[in-house]
Amino acid sequence: MNRSFFARNPSVLVFIAVLALFTLAVTVTSEAVGSGALSTSFIKTLGKTLCLCLVAIAMDLIWGFAGILSLGHMAFFGLGGYMIGMWLMYARTEMIVTASMANAEIPPTDQEIVDAIGTQIFGVVGSSDFPPIWAFADSLTLQLAMVVLVPGLLALVFGWLAFRSRVTGVYLSILTQAMTLALALYLFQNDSGLRGNNGLSGLQNLPGADAIPQADISLWFFWASALALALGYLLAAWITSGKFGSVIRGIRDDEARVRFLGYSVEGYKLFVFTLTAVIAAIAGALYYPQAGIINPAEIAPIASIYLAVWVAIGGRGRLYGAVIGAAFVSLLSTWFTSGQAPSIPLGFYTIDWVDWWQVLLGISFVLVTLFAPKGIGGLVDIFTGRIPPKRHGADLGPDSGSLQEQEAEQ
C-alpha cells in the first residue's frame, strides 16, 4: 500500500501528459508564437473548453463520486465570472475615465473619478451609484479572493441548510435548481447592482494591456486554463484516491450505512459541495475573460443541466470521463450551432443543424442514459480489459448500491 500516488492512479499521469502535449501543440500552431494555423478565436474557444472541462471535473466529484446530482454548479461558475468581471470592468473603466479626465486643467478628485466610473458602468441601468457589493472592485487581490469566497460561502450556507435537513436525491436536485433559478432571477433585476440583464461586458480587454494583441492574451488565458485544469484534475484525483474518496463513494452507494459506521455524512457532503463550488468558480473566473461578456442568462438552470449532460455523456465516476464529455459535447455543440455542420437535404425537408442540434443532443442524451450509463469513458475499459463480469439484471445506478437489479432482490 506504499506505492506512490501516481502508481496507484496511472490515469493521472496519462491525462497530464495528454494535456501537456495538447497545450504544446496549440502553442506551436497559435498566431502569437507559432505558425498561426489556429485562429485567435479558435484558441479562445479551446481555452473556454478547458475551463468547461474543469467545471465538469467539479460536477463529476459532486455527482459521480458523492452521488449528489447538483443542478446548480453553473451558478457558482457564473458567480466566479461575475466576481472577476467586476474588477476587469472597474479597472478598465477607471483607466479610460482617468485618461479622459487628465486633459482637464484641474486634476480630478478621487470622488470625481469614482463617480465618473459609476456613471460609465451603471448608465445602462439608469443609475450612477456604486452598490455595496462593488466595494472591493478596485482591488484585484480582494476581488480574486471574492472569486473564491462568494461562491464558497453561498455553497456553504446552502449546503449546510440542505444537508442538515437530510434533503437527498431528486429533492436536492430540484432544490439546487431552484437556487440557480432564484439567483438568475435576482441578477436579472436592474437594481441587483450587477447591471441586470446587460450583464458585465468588455471583459476580454485586460486593463493596461491595450498594447498587447488579443492573440497573445488568448494564448495566456489558454495556458492559464490548461494549468488550472491540470491542478484541478490532480486535486480531484488526490481527493478521490485516498480514504476520503472511499468515504464519499460510500456515501454515494449507501448513505445510511456510512452514517451508521460513525462518519459525519453531512460534513463530508458539505465539504465536497463547497470545494466543487470553489473549483467551479475558479473555472468561471478563467472562462468569462475569454468569453468577454457575462449576463444572468448564463446562470439559468438549463446551463447546469447541460453540465450534467456533459458529465453523463463523458462517463461519470471517472475524472477523465468528465473531461472527455465536456470537451466532446461542447466542441460538437459549437460546431453544430455555429452553422459549420453541413445541412442534410432529405428532398422534402432540409435538416438545418442550427435548428436540429438540440433535438439530436436531447435524444442522444436519452440514448446514452438508457444504453450506455458509463458514457464515452466506458470505452476505455474495453482497451484496458476491465470488462465487468456478466451479472444479473440492469444496473441500479450509482446511488442505489453496487448490486445489480436482480441481485438486490435476492
Binding site: L69, A104, E105, I106, P107, P108, T109, D110, Q111, F158, L161, A162, R164, S165, R166, V167, G169, V170, Y171, S173, I174, L175, Q177, A178, M179, L181, A182, L183, L185, Y186, F188, Q189, D191, P301, I302, I305, A308, V309, A312, D355, W356, Q358, V359, L361, G362, I363, S364, F365, V366, T369, L370, P373, A394, D395, L396, G397, D399, S400, E405
Partner: protein, 654 residues
C-alpha cells in the same frame, strides 16, 4: 310656368311673414329672446350669461331646442324685424325658416336677409352647461346617464345647481341615486356653504369609490413652506422638523433657497467651473493647479477667490445649519378652512381603511387564482411524481404541447367556444399518448434510477422544446379565449377578478375532484395505489404493474395537457411556456408533500399567497418576488423536509 309658380309662392310667403312679423312677438320664447336681443347679438362670453340663464330658467318647453340650435349655429335673425328663427340651408343663397316656438316652416328667404348668430367656443360651452340641466331631465334614461357621465368626466361649478334642480323626481331609482351621489361630490368641491360641504364630505365615510377619493384629495393638497416664524391665520397641516425622515436637512435648505430665504448652495461642479475660469498662471487663488485633486484643497482655493470678491461666497455647513435653525418649516393646506380639511382628513382615513380591507380581499382573490394556476400545472406532476415517484422534467413540455394543441385547434375551428371544447379532450389525448410513449420507451427502464430518470426526461424536454421551436417558430402564438370569458367580475371599485381566472379556478377544482374520484373510487385508482405501494405484491394479486404504470403516467401527462390549454388562455403560448412553470410545479409538489393531493393543493395555495404577498410588499418588482419566494421555500424545506402533509407509516415507503 312651372318656374314662375314657386317663385310667386315664395314672394307671397315673404309678404305674409313680413306682415306677421310686424305684430308683437308671436310666442313667449320669442319675447324672451327679444328681451335679451342686445346680448345675443353681441354674443360675448363676458356678458351672455344672463341671457342663457333666462332661457334655462324660463321653464318654456322650447328652451332646450332653442339652446341646442343656438349652440349648433342654426339660430338666425331676420334683419328686417330682428326676429329669431331656425334656418336651414336650401342652396347657397336661400334658407328655409322655421318658427322657434312651434318648429313650423315659416318660409324661404334669401341669405342676404338673415344674420347668423355665431356663438364662439366659450359661449357654446356655457350653452352646453345650461343644456346639461335639460339633458339631466330628459325622458330617455340613456341620455340622462350620458349627461351624468359627462359631468363626472369634467365637473364644473355650474353643474352643481343644474344637478340639484334635476334630481327631483327621477323615475329611475338607480339614476336618482347616482345624481344624489354626484350632487354630494360636487358639493365637496364647489358647494358655497361650508356646513353643506362638511356634511357632504362626512357622507362619504368608508366609501370605496375612486370618485370620492378624487374629490377629497384636492382638499388635502398641501404646499411645503418655510418662513422666519409661523404665520397666523393659515390652515396648518403640520410642522416639520428639519433632519427628520419627512424633511432632510438638504431638502430644508433647498426649500429656503427656493423661497429666497437663503443664498443658493454652490455645488461642487459650480465650484470647479469657477476655479476653472479663474486660473492665473497655473494657480487658482494662490493654490497650484496640481494640488487641486481633493475637495479640501478646492475649498481653500475657492474661499481665496471669494475673499477676493471674484466669486459668490461659499456656503459652508455652519451657514446651512444656521439658516435652517432660523426658520420654521411647515405644510400648509391650500384649502383655507380648518373644519373642511379636518373633516376631509377623517373621512379619507375611514375610506383608506375600508379600501385597505378590500385590497386585502382583492389580493386574496389574485393569490387564489395564481394558486389555482400553480395547482393546475402541478396536478399532473402530483400523479407522476407524487404517486409514482417518477421525476418527469418534460412535464412542462407536456403543458406546452397542450397549449399548442389548443392553438392548432383554433386554426382549424374558428369558433372560439367550440374550439376550446374540442381542444380540451384533444390536448388530453395528445399528451396522454405522448406520456404513454415516453413511459414505454424510456421511463420504464429507469424505475430504479431516479436521478437518471431526471436526466433522461430532461433530454426529452430539450428535444421537445427545440422541436416546438422548429415547428411553430420562436414568436408567441395567441390562444384566444371565447368572448364570454372576456371581461371581469367587478365587485366594487377595488375588488375585481377576470372571468378567465375564475374559469381556471373552477377548472382546478374540477381536476381536484376528478383526481380524488379516480384515486379513491375507481378500480384504476385502487390498482395504482396498490402498485405504488408494493408492485410485486400487486402483481401477485393479478394486477399488471406495467399496464398500471403506463396508464398512470399517461393520466398525469394528459392532465398536464389540459392544464396547458388553460394556461395558454391566460399566458402567451411559446416553446418556453412549460419551462416557466416546471420549477414552480416541482416546488408546489415538494412543499405540499409528495404523494398527497391535499398537500399539493396546500402547497399551491401557500406559494400563490406567498408570491402575491411579496409582490404586494414590493409591487414594482415581480422578479424579486420570485427570488424571495424560492429562498423562502428553501428555508421552509428546512423545517418540513417532507412537505406540509408528510405521509406516515407504510404509505411513506421507507
Amino acid at each position: 310656368m312651372t318656374r314662375i309658380l314657386p317663385a310667386a309662392l315664395a314672394v307671397l310667403m315673404l309678404c305674409v311673414s313680413a306682415v306677421l312679423a310686424q305684430d308683437a312677438p308671436s310666442s313667449p320664447i320669442q319675447a324672451l329672446l327679444q328681451e335679451h336681443r342686445a346680448l345675443l347679438e353681441k354674443s360675448s362670453r363676458k356678458t351672455i350669461q344672463p341671457a342663457i340663464d333666462a332661457l334655462r330658467d324660463s321653464g318654456l318647453p322650447e328652451a332646450q331646442d332653442v339652446l341646442e340650435k343656438w349652440q349648433a349655429k342654426e339660430l338666425w335673425q331676420r334683419k328686417d324685424d330682428k326676429l329669431f328663427f331656425f334656418a336651414e340651408k336650401i342652396d347657397s343663397k336661400t334658407y328655409a325658416l322655421a318658427d322657434i316656438a312651434t318648429g313650423e316652416a315659416v318660409g324661404e328667404i334669401p341669405k342676404k336677409g338673415l344674420n347668423q348668430l355665431k356663438p364662439n367656443s366659450g359661449v357654446r360651452s356655457m350653452i352646453g352647461a345650461a343644456l346639461v340641466q335639460f339633458q339631466l331631465m330628459a325622458d330617455d334614461p340613456a341620455k340622462r346617464i350620458e349627461a351624468l357621465d359627462a359631468i363626472q368626466r369634467d365637473p364644473a361649478p355650474e353643474h352643481l345647481t343644474a344637478l340639484q334642480g334635476a334630481i327631483g323626481n327621477d323615475p329611475d331609482a338607480a339614476i336618482r341615486a347616482r345624481k344624489e351621489r354626484l350632487v354630494r361630490l360636487l358639493t365637496i368641491s364647489y358647494g358655497s356653504d361650508e356646513a353643506d360641504r362638511i356634511a357632504a364630505i362626512e357622507s362619504f365615510k368608508g366609501d370605496l369609490g375612486v370618485d370620492a377619493r378624487a374629490a377629497l384629495n384636492p382638499l388635502l393638497a398641501t404646499s411645503r413652506k418655510a418662513a422666519a416664524s409661523l404665520p397666523d391665520g393659515i390652515n396648518l397641516a403640520r410642522r416639520l422638523s428639519p433632519g427628520s425622515e419627512e424633511l432632510s436637512e438638504a431638502e430644508a435648505y433647498d426649500l429656503l433657497v427656493s423661497s429666497d430665504l437663503a443664498p443658493a448652495r454652490i455645488s461642487a461642479a459650480d465650484k470647479r467651473a469657477a476655479l476653472q475660469e479663474n486660473i492665473v498662471e497655473g494657480r487658482v487663488g494662490r493654490v497650484p493647479l496640481a494640488q487641486l485633486d481633493s475637495e479640501a484643497a478646492r475649498e481653500t482655493a475657492y474661499r481665496a477667490l471669494a475673499e477676493a470678491g471674484i466669486v459668490p461666497a461659499s456656503i459652508g455647513e455652519a451657514e446651512i445649519a444656521g439658516a435652517i435653525d432660523a426658520h420654521v418649516f411647515f405644510d400648509q393646506y391650500a384649502e383655507a378652512s380648518p373644519a373642511l380639511t379636518s373633516a376631509a382628513a377623517t373621512t379619507l382615513a375611514t375610506i383608506n381603511s375600508s379600501v385597505g380591507v378590500n385590497q386585502v380581499l382583492d389580493l386574496t382573490l389574485d393569490a387564489l387564482s395564481l394558486a389555482s394556476i400553480y395547482f393546475l400545472a402541478a396536478i399532473g406532476l402530483a400523479i407522476t411524481f407524487g404517486v409514482m415517484g417518477v421525476i418527469n422534467m418534460a412535464h412542462g413540455e407536456f403543458i406546452m404541447m397542450g397549449a399548442y394543441t389548443g392553438y392548432v385547434v383554433q386554426q382549424v375551428i374558428p369558433d372560439y367556444t367550440v374550439s376550446i371544447l374540442v381542444a380540451l379532450p384533444l390536448a388530453f389525448a395528445v399528451t396522454f399518448a405522448a406520456g404513454v410513449a415516453m413511459e414505454r420507451l424510456v421511463i420504464r427502464w429507469l424505475y430504479n434510477r431516479p436521478l437518471e430518470t431526471l436526466l433522461a426526461t430532461f433530454g426529452i424536454s430539450i428535444a421537445l422544446q427545440q422541436l416546438a421551436k422548429n415547428i411553430f417558430g420562436t414568436q408567441a402564438r395567441p390562444l384566444t379565449s371565447p368572448a364570454w370569458l372576456d371581461g371581469a367580475l367587478v365587485l366594487n371599485d377595488v375588488v375585481s377578478i377576470s372571468y378567465i381566472r375564475i374559469a381556471i379556478f373552477v377548472l382546478a377544482l374540477i381536476f381536484l375532484g376528478v383526481f380524488l374520484f379516480i384515486m379513491r373510487r375507481t378500480r384504476l385508482g385502487l390498482e395504482v395505489r396498490a402498485v405504488t405501494q408494493n408492485p410485486r405484491m400487486a402483481a401477485s394479486m393479478g394486477i399488471n404493474p406495467d399496464r398500471i404504470n403506463m396508464l398512470t403516467f399517461g393520466l398525469g401527462s394528459g392532465i398536464a395537457g389540459i392544464a396547458g390549454v388553460a394556461i395558454g388562455l391566460y399566458a402567451k403560448v411559446t416553446s418556453e411556456l412549460g419551462s416557466d412553470y416546471i420549477v414552480q410545479s416541482f416546488m408546489t409538489v415538494v412543499v405540499g408533500g409528495v404523494g398527497n393531493i391535499w398537500g399539493t393543493l396546500l402547497g399551491a395555495t401557500m406559494i400563490g399567497f406567498l408570491q402575491k404577498g411579496i409582490e404586494w410588499l414590493n409591487p414594482s418588482n415581480t422578479l424579486a418576488a420570485q427570488t424571495y419566494m424560492i429562498i423562502f421555500i428553501i428555508i421552509f424545506i428546512q423545517f418540513r423536509p417532507r412537505g406540509i402533509i408528510a405521509l406516515k407509516g407504510r404509505a411513506a415507503g421507507d
